[in-house]
Subunit: 207 residues, 4 copies
C-alpha cells in the first residue's frame, strides 16, 4: 500500500486531532457470538478482548463513562432488516440467546450504558449520542469487533456526532486480517486518531 | 484475500438482496475537487464519472428519482468539523468554489435533489432519507467517490435507513485502488449488492 | 380560539394531505402507567384506548403494518435522561414493571413491531423509520397518549421522516383536555391530517 | 387551565433542570416572512424579536456559541416536503428570497452558525447537534418563532439530544396568543425550563 499512502500524504490526509478533556470508552459487540469462529468470530478477536479487558479496568478506575453494545433482534423476528438479508445468521442474536451476551471477561457493571442495536453503528437508531452529550463526553475511545464492520461504522458516526474518535488499534479485532488492516488505514487517514491501548492510557494519565 | 473470503463464506456472509420496485440513483461527491489529482482525486475516478454519465442518462430516461451530493462548508468556516481536522483542505469546498461544483458531465437537471453535506454519508445531517421515502423509493443505486469514503458511508446508511443499497462497482472510484477494492469487498459481504452499471440497467429494463 | 383560527386561515395553513397507498398503524404509549390517573394517566385516555382497540382489529384484518411504543428505562437507571429530570416518576417504567406493559386490550401480536423509547417521539433514538420504510409504508395513522406529548412528537417526526401523518382524533387521549385540544389544533393546522377512527377506516376500505 | 395544572402537579411534572455550564443561544426562524403578518407572522413576534436583540448582544459579549435558523427550500422546488403540503406558501422561502432572510436587527455575525432547515426542528436533517457537541455546549437557550411550531420542535429536540433546553418566554413569539401560551405550558411541564431573557442573563452572569 506504499503508493496508496503516498497520495494520501500528498493530499494532506491523516492529520491528528488529539485527546479531548472528557473521554469515554465504547466497547462494540464483544459478545459470545463474535468471539466464536463458528458464529461470527475468528481472526484476532480474542487478543482484542484481552486488551480491552485492561482498558476497561483502567476506565473504571478513572471513572470514565463506559458504554457496551450488543446486536439484539426481537424474538419473533419482527425487526429483521436489510443487514439480516446479507447475513441471515444474525437473527440468532436475540435478547436472551447465549450468542448475544457480552463475553464474561467484559461483563458490564451497574451504571454502564448498554446499547442494543440492529445495524453496524452504535449510534444509529439508538440514543447513545444524547447519552454521551448529557455526560459531557467529548472524546470516544473505541474497541470491539469487527474492525471492518461495527467498529468502523461506530467510529465514523462518533466523528459525525462531534465526538473526537480514537480507535484503539490493538483493542479491535476482525475475523480476517486483510479487512482489519484496510479499515484501520481508512479510519486513520480520514476519520479518527489511531492509538494502542497503552498510548491512550498514557495520554489520559498525563492530563 | 482468498483465505479472508473463506471465513466469510463459512459464516454465511455475502447473500444477495435483489433489486426493489422503485430504484433511485444517488451520485456521491462527483465534484471538480474530487476529479483533480492535486486536490482530492486521482485513481479510477475519471472512469467512474464516465460510467455514471451513462447511468444518469438512463435514470433520466426511466424517470427514476435522482440525487447528487456535494461537500459544502460555510464561507466563514463556522461549520468546520472533526473531518476537517483530519483533512484540512476540505475547507476549500464552499458554496461557490470551483472545487465544490459538480463536474460538468453530470450537471444536475432541474428537479433533481442536491444534497449539501459536511461528513461522508449523504444521509447524515441531511434530509435525503425523508426525501426518498416521500418519493416511494425502495432501492438506491450508488455511484460516486470515494469508494472508501463517502460512497461506503452513504451505502451503509442507505441500508440502515431501510433502502436496498446497490453499489455500482464501475461507477465508483477512489484515489487509490487498494482501498477501493477493500471497501467493495466489505460492502458486498455485509451491506449491499454489488453490480456493474450494465447489470443494474439490465435488471431495471427487465422488470 | 376563533381569532386564532382566522389568522391561520388567512395565511393558508391547515391544508389536507390525503391518505397514501400503504398506511400503517402506530399506537403510542398505551401502557398501564398511562392508563392510571395515579401514575401518568387520566382525562380521556380510557375512551381513546377503546377506539384504538377497534382500529387495531381493523388494521389486523387489513394486514396493515402495526407498531406499538413503550417507554422503557434500564433497571439500573444508566440511561435516565433530561425528560426524567422534568418528570422523575418516569423511572418506574422499566422492562418488566407493570406500569410499562402495554394495556391488555391492545396486547401486541407476534410480528408487530414494538418500539422501546426514552423520549416523546417514537422515531427518536429508535429504528422505527427504517422499519416502516423497509415495509413500503407511506402513511402512518397515529393513536395513543398523550396527545400533547408523545403523540404530537411522534406525529411531527412521522411528517419529518416523509410519512403522511394522520392523527386519529378520538384514538388519542390526554390527562387534561385543554392541552389535548390545543395540540390537535397545532397538529391539524401545520403538520398532519386529522381524522376520526371511522373516517380513517372508511377511507382505507374505499381504496 | 387551573384543573389542568392540578393533575400535572399531582403526577409530579414540571420539575426544574437548571442552567448548565456552557450555554449557547439558538434563535429560531426570526426571518422577514415570520415578522410579516401577511406572510407567516403576527401576534407577539415583533416584541420577541426586540427581546432577542438584547439577548443576542449579551451572548456576543459573553462569547457564547450562537446559532440562527432559516427555512430554505430549493429554488426549483426539488425538496418540497409534507410540511409544504400543509402550508403551501412556505415554498416562497428560498435562499435569496426577501422573506427567508434573517431580520436586520438580528443579522448574524461571521462565525455564528446558520442552519438551513425544511421542517420545524432546528435539529432535524441538519448537523446542529454535532456542531454544538463539538463546541462543548451543554445548555441551549432558545428564542424565536413560532412558539407553537419551530420553537417547540427545536426545544424538544434539544432535550432529546441531551442539551438542557431553556425556552426564553419573552423571546419567543407566535402569530396567535392561544397556541403561544398552550405550548409554553406543555414545554414547561414536560421538556424545558422556562425563563425570561432577564432571568437567563442573570443566571449566566452569576455563575
Amino acid at each position: 500500500m506504499s503508493s496508496d499512502t503516498e497520495i494520501y500524504k500528498k493530499q494532506n490526509f491523516g492529520n491528528t486531532i488529539g485527546m479531548g478533556k472528557k473521554p469515554a470508552l465504547l466497547i462494540v459487540d464483544f459478545v459470545n457470538g463474535f468471539n466464536d469462529e463458528n458464529a461470527f468470530g475468528g481472526g484476532n478477536i480474542p487478543q482484542a478482548i484481552k486488551i480491552t479487558q485492561s482498558l476497561l479496568e483502567f476506565a473504571r478506575n478513572q471513572k470514565l463513562p463506559i458504554a457496551h453494545t450488543r446486536v439484539v433482534f426481537a424474538d419473533d423476528g419482527s425487526d429483521l432488516n436489510l443487514m439480516y438479508k446479507k447475513v441471515p445468521s444474525l437473527k440468532t442474536l436475540t435478547e436472551n440467546s447465549k450468542e448475544s451476551q457480552i463475553v464474561p471477561e467484559l461483563t458490564p457493571n451497574n451504571g454502564e450504558i448498554i446499547v442494543r442495536k440492529r445495524v453496524p453503528s452504535a449510534f444509529f437508531g439508538t440514543d447513545l449520542a444524547p447519552q454521551l452529550t448529557l455526560l459531557g463526553v467529548d472524546t470516544i475511545m473505541i474497541t470491539g469487533c469487527t474492525t471492518s464492520g461495527c467498529v468502523r461504522a461506530s467510529a465514523l458516526d462518533a466523528m459525525c456526532w462531534g465526538f473526537i474518535p480514537i480507535v484503539i488499534t490493538d483493542g479491535c479485532g476482525d475475523r480476517a486480517i486483510g479487512p482489519h488492516e484496510a479499515n484501520l488505514f481508512d479510519l486513520g487517514q480520514k476519520y479518527v486518531d489511531l492509538m494502542t491501548a497503552s498510548e491512550a492510557m498514557e495520554k489520559i494519565r498525563n492530563k
